[in-house]
Amino acid sequence: MEENSAGVTVSSKKTLWKVIGASSLGTLIEWYDFYIFGSLALIISTKFFPSDNPTAAFLSTLATFAAGFVVRPFGALFFGRLGDIIGRKYTFMVTLLLMGLSTCAIGLVPGYETIGFAAPLLVLLLRLLQGLALGGEYGGAATYVAEHSEPHKRGFRTSWIQTTATVGLFISLAVIMLTKSSMSAEAFDDWGWRLPFLLSSVMVVVSYFIRRNMDESPLFKKAKSEGNTSTNPLKESFGNKFNFKFVLLALFGATMGQGVIWYTGQFYALSFLQNVCHVDFDQTNFIIGAALLAGTGFFVFFGWLSDRIGRKPVMLAGMLLAILTYRPIYDRMYQFTDVTTKQELVDQQRAEGDAIIKVYDDGSTATWVTEGATTTQTVHVGRSAFWSIVLLVFIQVLYVTMVYGPIAAFLVEMFPVRIRYTSMSLPYHVGNGIFGGLLPAVATYLVTKAQVANTAVQQASEALPYDKPHLAGLWYPILIAGVSFIIGLLYLKNKNQNVQ
């Protein structure tokens, strides 16, 4: 430990990188665990939910996914309170183990066909535990790193924690792709999908042993030795007007907008390509994976930049750019995948079993499969369209890095040490878990509603109510981020009061 010129105790550089490494690794594993479920949502829906109606099964999974998000604020309250009373280190060790055990257990639950209704119930319960664990983890890791850091480098140091969510998603996609490519499609569908869940147990054990040897945060230790820790952090955070008004400001002026931009860039883009544009599963994952890989370094850049020019301008610039450009970006993505506007190479059309495959002049192919009265379409885009879509998703990831890179430092500096874990965790998880986590479901609902409305009017030969129904889902993030931008612009300070 060292004391800087301002008399603040900070860790030595070597210790700091160990702290960042251990915290980031654990948080990364938690995100991996959390995203495996979302990335395998389609398969899970067929295994654990009645398969009579695939849409209902998929919506059930989304609901379970949402349940994982909705309980995050409760995890934030429960573990945040513990973290402010007994310490950051022990609390985020518990959340790590809880997450690992829940994830591993999901991989062991027998399917609906074997144990009936107990299967979806067990999966739902385990998903709720995952949400609780994640609710406690992030605030602990961010607070722990921030309290070890020099105040003027807090944005840069905590930005490494911010990369973990994206890297966790990237690794979850990579593990799924590797597992799929190492076995037949039937084997993956039968039992292979369980492997990514089971792999979590190994990663959690490794991370647990790394974290076990870390010291408690110096600021928390100092507060504890001076008897300055809170005995009732919940009451102090939310029952005290002075603190509660900052909790509300953090939520409405920052995390609410940041949450929807994060989930639009990383998750709705995936859902939009799969469900609205009908791009095939593997290609969509490659597109998102490539964009994430190219964009992840910018979390650190924007964290560093926020130490120089302030958190507020970086985050608000990201929000504003997203609000202004989402519709043109998604419209271009749709056009790149819309085979009705491409020139078909008629002589290359072929039939394979129940499928009809059409080839287009830009190298794209579209496969139509008819089962009963239902026809499904899957598009595999050509090389040029593929890289154009990667670029468009990358731009969205860039917005994510602008709003998300500085947010940990921003939240940490908004609240004092004694109630920091509790106070910062709640707005973070309400903003991200609820406003962001519900985004794919709400946006998909809005698109479906617009398409149904257009179809109904089309049959009656009247003017269409929606000019571009595929963009209807974007109104949710645009509206939420718009309100957050105005509140942030007017009410947030560029420098918070608890910089020490």
């Binding site: 209902a56 909705v70 509300l248 400001l249 409405f252 519900l438």
Partner: protein, 74 residues
């Protein structure tokens, strides 16, 4: 700037109430009464999660803004 912050407090309160009305009247009630199982989850989320956070949160935030709690010393 402080005057604008205070006046906008009214806007946040109204926005919270409008959002609450939309979530309950336009979304939750029709879904609760649709009789479809798949509508139940969103209806519960609108009523017990989103509405309290958006309406309650924005109204309190607006009230604090109106009271000058977010004013900066000039």
């Amino acid at each position: 700037m402080n005057t604008i912050k205070r006046i906008l407090g009214v806007v946040w309160i109204i926005l919270g109430l409008v959002a609450g009305y939309y979530l309950i009247i336009s979304q939750a009630i029709p879904q609760f009464t649709s009789g479809k199982t798949e509508d139940l989850v969103p209806a519960i989320i609108y009523t017990f999660i989103l509405m309290p956070i958006i309406t309650g949160g924005l109204c309190i935030f607006g009230w604090y803004a109106l009271q000058g709690e977010y004013n900066t010393s000039e």
